[in-house]
């Protein structure tokens, strides 16, 4: 029997196996940030265990950072302390850190691929569930808890039970205005938020083959929202082209050697998956969520389903939506384009393309938050900032921002926010805030109109 992409990478990283128990899996790259690492550093210090392979760790500051005036000292004492701890821990342990203001700083899942740190065939972890993003390169990448962060610090390994394999295939051609975000929101709306639990998911079919790396990252990013530990897409020419000549990518002859290896990774034709789902690209439309988990999604033209389940009703009550209602014409005062799902250059190009020559609606506060310093620079260099400025949008500095509202970027209580992020949980974007997940195109159109519109009617 053939092997899957996942099997090939996993099996080549198993150091040892405990009888009747988990396996010891070797981790190639460990990414860290300020929120989930301090307790792990403390743990090691308390037990007098040194960091085992500091040169396989890369750190960034992202969750808790301000998106304005980054050159000034951070006002919030707790946030400042957390960032100072990160700097100190990295300095004490010889770990590379791209701190606030550094040209490579950014959201961990945006900056690492951009620097060529993320490569096919690797095992990668981070104390953050959206580490699944890196699977877009054909890597095994997944989020871990802080105890596991400490384990990787101590041994560069984790004790894990091999997950089952799942494949989601989407074939066909996407309709106009349907973006990678819509593809993944559609899949989650069909499969539910726990269909992937216990599985690692591979996305296959021509829709993903024809997608850019940015689009593939958007898709893999949200694998965790259907419960899967990670998502992955077979590496191909698009992948190699993206990695080539990036800062930490293998260079010259080394790169060619790596490519030859990477080409052996895709799942064999006779590989068998534990679970398979297939969708048709033609069925996918621009999507919106109406509830408080990412599985509660509908096509923009559909109405909110009717369901008697008490948790479902509680969710609609929180959102102040009626079962059976349409979201078209729903007034919206906040729009957020950002987060590790949709804050790459391509996302801002899509938004700028729509916004160009139009004006933001007066009632809307629209925040555009690039995923990294490099994306921010690109936005300025490509002239997108000028388009945003002219249309009345606010381009902020990079970070997680309103995706989880740990910093000052909070959506006020009771307000709706059309957001390109990945989670619409109660209070996710600020206490009492109501999140509607959508693509950057739908978000941009909402900001222009001040309400949700049927985008499919506005594309020429």
């Amino acid at each position: 029997m053939g092997k899957t992409l996942f099997d090939k990478i996993w099996d080549s990283h198993v150091v040892d196996a405990i009888e009747n128990g988990p396996q010891v899996l070797y981790i190639d790259k460990h990414l860290i940030h300020e929120v989930t690492s301090p307790q792990a550093f403390n743990e090691l210090k308390e037990r007098s265990i040194p960091v085992y392979r500091p040169n396989q760790i890369v750190a960034t500051a992202d969750h808790n950072t301000p998106t304005m005036d980054q050159h000034l000292p951070i006002k919030d004492a707790l946030s400042r302390n957390q960032l100072e701890q990160l700097s100190k821990n990295c300095a004490d342990n010889d770990i590379t850190l791209y701190e606030l203001g550094h040209q490579y700083n950014g959201i961990v899942h945006v900056m690492a691929p951009e620097l060529g740190i993320t490569q096919p065939g690797m095992t990668m972890v981070c104390g953050d569930s959206h580490t699944s993003t890196h699977g877009a390169f054909g890597a095994i990448a997944f989020g871990i808890g802080t105890s596991q962060v400490a384990q990787v610090f101590a041994s560069q390994c984790l004790l894990l039970t091999k997950p089952k394999s799942l494949r989601v295939t989407v074939n066909g051609t996407l309709k106009k205005g349907v973006l990678p975000k819509d593809v993944i929101l559609y899949i989650i709306s069909k499969l539910g938020t726990n269909s992937g639990t216990g599985y690692f998911c591979e996305y296959a079919g021509d829709v993903f083959e024809n997608m850019s790396m940015e689009g593939r990252m958007t898709v893999c990013n949200m694998s965790i929202e259907m419960g899967a530990r990670g998502g992955m897409i077979a590496p191909d020419e698009t992948t190699f082209e993206y990695i080539k000549e990036r800062k930490f990518a293998p260079q010259g002859e080394n790169f060619d050697k790596k490519v030859a290896y990477w080409k052996t990774l895709p799942s064999d034709d006779d590989a068998v998956f534990d679970q398979e789902y297939t969708f048709d690209a033609a069925d996918i439309a621009p999507m919106l969520t109406y509830g408080t988990n990412p599985g509660m999604g509908i096509k923009i033209t559909e109405t909110i389903p009717i369901d008697e389940n008490p948790s479902f009703k509680k969710s609609l009550e929180y959102m102040n939506f009626e079962a059976g209602a349409s979201l078209i014409n729903q007034p919206i005062n906040y729009v957020f384009i950002g987060s590790c799902t949709n804050s790459r250059i391509e996302d801002f190009r899509v938004a700028a393309d729509y916004i160009k020559g139009k004006q933001k609606a007066k009632n809307v506060t629209a925040w555009l938050v690039p995923g990294s310093k490099q994306v921010e620079t690109q936005i300025i260099e490509e002239g997108l900032k000028a388009i945003f400025d002219e249309a009345g949008f606010e381009l902020r500095q990079p970070g997680c921002s309103a995706c989880l509202a740990m910093n000052d970027d909070k959506i006020p209580k009771g307000e709706y926010c059309v957001s390109t992020s990945n989670r619409n949980f109660e209070g996710r974007q600020g206490q009492g805030s109501r999140t509607i997940l959508a693509s950057p195109l739908v978000a941009a159109a909402t900001a222009i109109e001040g309400k949700i519109i049927d985008i499919t009617k506005h594309l020429n």
């Binding site: 009747n20 128990g21 989020g143 105890s147 384990q151 041994s155 997950p163 419960g227 989670r423 109660e426």
Partner: protein, 195 residues
């Protein structure tokens, strides 16, 4: 980590499905750099209203419910990988969470902190939930050694699964770091052979 063998306790019902990590501990409380104090803010936005007043409708605030076992709806712990969720539940005093389904990362995080995520059948969960809601004095026994949960008064019980390695860790109070550090030589040999 404390050793875990058998627990007999009353339980607190939380009849909500898809309880996510943002509800267990809202993001604005993640700024600490140690593991202490998260228990005070567990389910913060359900326990207190926006003005900080106690929400008396919420089961954790209802003095008739006590105990170190939380009984929750399906798909508990979905969302973020933040271990702060497990620290908050442990900090509040929970030792066992019972649900019909747990999110993967949460399950691992809970086990790494001596908190048992105990998965039961949907049928057993609904009996358990109803029994505790109607009779808060009901005692529940969780026997890790024999992998069994029982509702004492009704004499109903159900077996549960747990990874044998994790079970040994819980019973003896060890954690994965001890194990992995003991494998250093093997890990070095693995690294050398890959170069």
């Amino acid at each position: 980590m404390k050793k875990f063998t058998k627990i007999i306790s009353k339980a607190i019902p939380l009849a909500v499905e898809n309880v996510d990590t943002d509800q267990i501990i809202p993001a604005r409380f993640l700024k600490a750099t140690d593991k202490k104090g998260f228990g005070d803010n567990v389910f913060r936005d359900w326990r207190f209203d926006k003005n900080g007043a106690i929400n008396t409708d919420f089961s954790l605030n209802n003095p008739i419910y006590t105990g170190s076992i939380l009984i929750a709806g399906d798909n508990f712990g979905c969302g973020s990988s933040r271990e702060h969720a497990a620290w908050a539940l442990v900090g509040y005093g929970f030792k066992v969470i019972v649900s019909s389904f747990f999110a993967d990362i949460f399950k691992g995080n809970a086990l790494n902190n001596g908190l048992l995520p105990l998965q039961v059948s949907p049928k057993f969960l609904s009996i358990l939930m109803k029994t505790v809601q109607e009779n808060p004095a009901t005692e529940i026994e969780v026997d890790l050694e024999n992998q069994k949960i029982s509702i004492k008064k009704l004499e109903i019980s159900e077996g549960f699964d747990i990874d044998p390695y994790k079970k040994t860790c819980l019973i003896n109070g060890y954690d994965d770091i001890d194990y992995l550090v003991s494998k250093k030589e093997m890990i070095e040999a693995f690294e050398a052979q890959r170069l």
